[in-house]
């Protein structure tokens, strides 16, 4: 079946601009996660949705970052007033959401964001 998909695969923007990154989870998965991965580092947790609500947004670095999942499926990560330090690979993952902490998270291929 189809895995997690993310669009665009690459995004180049200028400092100060607004960007949106999209994630389509595996069909039927109620849990969705966003991570950020900088070069040479592991993924860093940003936010976790269970259904439409953000169950944990403790990883969002500041108020320029925001994510939504209005219908409990597709999610959009929104970054305002982008800075060069936002450049990274943004990863999305989904899981069935029925086993809580024991769920296996399935990752998409990521969106590489470059802020010039």
């Amino acid at each position: 079946g189809a895995g997690v998909s993310q669009t665009p695969s690459n995004k180049v923007t200028e400092k100060g601009k607004y960007v949106e990154l999209r994630c389509d989870p595996i069909s039927g998965h109620t849990a969705l996660y966003w991570y950020r991965q900088s070069l040479g580092q592991g993924p860093e947790f940003l936010i976790y949705f269970q259904g439409t609500g953000a169950a944990d947004d403790s990883g969002l670095p500041n108020d320029r970052f925001f994510a939504v999942r209005p219908e409990g499926s597709v999610s959009t990560l929104k970054i305002q007033r982008t800075e060069r330090g936002d450049s990274a690979m943004y990863l999305c993952a989904s899981s069935p959401g029925v086993s809580g902490s024991t769920d296996t998270q399935y990752f998409g291929p990521g969106t590489r964001l470059t802020v010039l």
């Binding site: 996660y33 991570y35 040479g40 592991g42 993924p43 976790y48 169950a55 990752f107 998409g108």
Partner: protein, 115 residues
């Protein structure tokens, strides 16, 4: 707070030899532990996880990992390495007693298997 350490940035082994990729963790409660592999230009792929029960966990592609509570370790192993195992490997931990979704990853270990 939870954290993961992968003490080796790089591991090199010859094809056919056993491999070990090390991982140690820190959580305030009981851990759930995961290994993922990342190939170039591809997303992270799940290999295996430890939730409870037998300390030796078997996963995809012949990999296994041993949970050691006293040493707070979860090392990834394979009896006989293949060149195709060459990739970037990540260990991750979740704390059973805190929020369900938040995984903390190590910084990864690059495994190179030489023919």
């Amino acid at each position: 707070a939870q954290s993961v350490a992968q003490p080796e940035d790089q591991v090199n082994v010859a094809e056919g030899n056993p491999l070990t990729v090390k991982c140690t963790y820190s959580v305030s409660g009981n851990p759930y532990l995961f290994w993922y592999v990342q190939y170039p230009n591809r997303g992270l792929q799940f290999l295996l996880k430890y939730i409870t029960g037998d300390n030796l966990v078997k996963g995809s592609y012949g990999f296994e990992a041993e949970f050691n509570k006293s040493q707070t370790s979860f090392h990834l192993k394979k009896p006989s390495a293949l060149v195709s195992d060459s990739a970037l490997y990540f260990c991750a931990v979740r704390d059973k007693n805190t929020n369900a979704g938040k995984s903390t990853f190590g910084d990864g270990t690059t495994l190179t298997v030489k023919p």
